[in-house]
Amino acid sequence: MQLAYANYLLTIKEKTEMEMINIIIDNKPVKAEKGQTILKVAREIGIDIPTLCYYELDGVNLENRPGGCRVCVVEIEGRRNLAPACATEVMEGMNIKTHSLRVVNARRTVVELILSDHPADCLVCSKSGKCELQSLAQRLGIREIPYQGAQSTYRKDMSPAIIRDIDKCIMCRRCETVCNVWQTVGALSAINRGFEAVVATAYEQDLVKSPCTYCGQCIAACPVGALSEVDQTRQVITAISDPTKTVIVQTAPAVRVALGEEFGMEPGTIVTGKMAAVLRTIGFDYVFDTDFAADLTIMEEGTELLNRISKFMAGDKTVKLPILTSCCPGWVNFFEYNYPDMLDVPSTAKSPMQMFGAVAKNYWADKLGIKREDMVVVSIMPCVAKKFECQRDEFKVDGNPDVDFALTTRELAELVRQFNIDFNAIEEQDFDQPLGESTGAAVIFGATGGVIEAATRTAYELFTGKKLEKVDFTELRGLEGIRSATVDFNGTPINIGIAHGLANARQLLDQVREGKTNFHAIEVMACPGGCIGGAGQPFHHGDFDIIRKRHAAIYREDAGKPIRKSHENPFIQALYKDWLGEPCGELSHHLLHTHYFDKSKHIEIEG
């Protein structure tokens, strides 16, 4: 039904396309496309009408436009009331004033009223300096809050990954839109009415009792500090300060193309070497790379894929195809809750972060001759759900987790600032060996389509026994929500599906459940663009160009790598030779694979 509606909107758009009308904005005559909003037309000609509740990710067709905050109001000649620019379409002959005296005064009052029910915690708020409400108040020159009415207060909700401090909520409903439209998770909804209205979970329970996947896109969308990630920087500093602990850090592929933004660099700047250097300066004992474990994941997941395909071709009808990737912890939480009947379909391979943890606390601890309790593994992730993933019981040995703390890209930037490191000036350094060596295939794990492209590079050579001439599978790349391609494995067609965003994943999964697809493998990532658009990345405030630039950078980093196929990573080869034996072998099965749980809600008949 949703799809039919989208098509309907599309036909309307096509019909009206190119129909241009004449309007006047701030005394400037403008030719505008009919059906466009005043906000969009104004932005196109460089007039910046401030907004607050409005949120758009144009690259993935996501829009939150409740028209509720009234910050974007403008004056239209001949109309009695001011109109919200985000929700008002342009019409022939419209004469619009975006910053008239009346508008400026109204806008100011609107923001003063919002501030009257907002805690003045800016000094210690995690969002301070990146808060859209704060910058709006500054931009409008607000120096005092004249309205001293009631303030709404709520219980603070602490989950393993996300903190909801709803006293700060301004009811923009962006989180509700991403949770329900982009992710179809349905953890959040607006409840109550009037002054009591707020975004909450069902029955106002804690997030842990909701279907929340901890993808954190609500945090990425939140204009204020009402939603934030659990900050673990203090625990990491404590671990580094402890002389009895060996502290190891691993960095996810998507971090290196976004971290620079926190220090004023152009989005898409690759800062791999600087990142390694700052981590060493902060005091980590070994600076390793999650990319190493991504190569390992390809060995395991690729082998699993080939095993399933070979069995299927040999006539085994019990084999589960397509195989689903399992690197994305938001996605894993999602299918555990929504597809409990399909828990045997996803790959059993752990995510690269957890594989790294398992290798570090078993193989590397052994090499160093230390106990696993004396090793602390920290990961730097573009992701909020990783904080939940590393706390899963199945990733612990006698209560000691394989990965102790998962920091976001933003938290690493905080550490860099706290340690007064000049990020722009620091000389580039390399990762430590052996767990720091990786290939181009591992780097592209950070973008949608990257995991399956990396798997294809290796699976092709293992399956056909031939050398792959062209490693770039451009047909698997892109930013459309759902993509599919057929790759020719020397005469055998392999059908691949890709989705980013859990709404898109749900569409594919529903088709799989009904047996309507012929895919051999499907890759899913929860966040827009994949991990590059992860909820732990520097805030993009709805500017999708930032995600596009990170996307391009990921593939630039891949192209610049001397080795671009996971199975050619010499340290991976050595790891199998020295320790693991073979991919999907006994030790791998024990350490590098996992299993899934039914987390759905069941209706039971009262006994």
Partner: protein, 158 residues
């Protein structure tokens, strides 16, 4: 794995109501009306079943239940009391009458007495402004009420 426990009869009744509305997400409000009519109130477990049947999130159902004052998550009393807080009743002292009900019954708005006899709610205008302030108990209308009269009225039902 979270469990919802309900009797088979209740589950079947809810399923029947949902399917009578074609299990369409757009019909959730109508379903809630019917289910509340059937069971008297809408506790969380019922909302969970409705959410599953109507293929919407429990948060969405809860959002609707908390938005409309008609829906209630606590069982109504044997004698539901509704105090009109419409403009006419309000200016003629409805709030003082409401306070007296709260004091006499020791419950707040939206609550039910522990013995299940009375529940207290507010509503906006019953169209009898000439009798302001107005209170409904069950289907019976009481007009021109003063705080002094509240105790006697309650005693009629005790």
């Amino acid at each position: 794995m979270a469990k919802i426990k309900l009797s088979e009869d209740k589950i079947n009744k809810i399923k029947e109501i949902c399917s009578s509305f074609g299990n369409k997400p757009s019909e959730v409000i109508n379903v809630l009306h019917k289910v509340q009519g059937e069971f008297g109130y809408l506790p969380a477990e019922l909302q969970d079943v409705i959410a599953q049947e109507m293929k919407v999130s429990a948060a969405h159902v809860y959002g609707i239940v908390t938005f409309y004052s008609f829906f209630t998550m606590t069982p109504k009393g044997e004698h539901p009391i509704s105090v009109c807080m419409g403009t006419a009743c309000y200016v003629r002292g409805a709030e003082k009458v409401l306070d007296e009900f709260k004091r006499e019954l020791k419950i707040g708005v939206g609550e039910t007495t522990p013995d299940g006899k009375f529940s207290l709610n507010c509503l906006r205008c019953v169209g009898a402004c000439g009798l302001a302030p107005v209170v409904l108990i069950g289907d019976k209308v009481y007009g021109r009420l003063t705080p002094d009269g509240v105790k006697d009225i309650i005693n009629e039902y005790r």
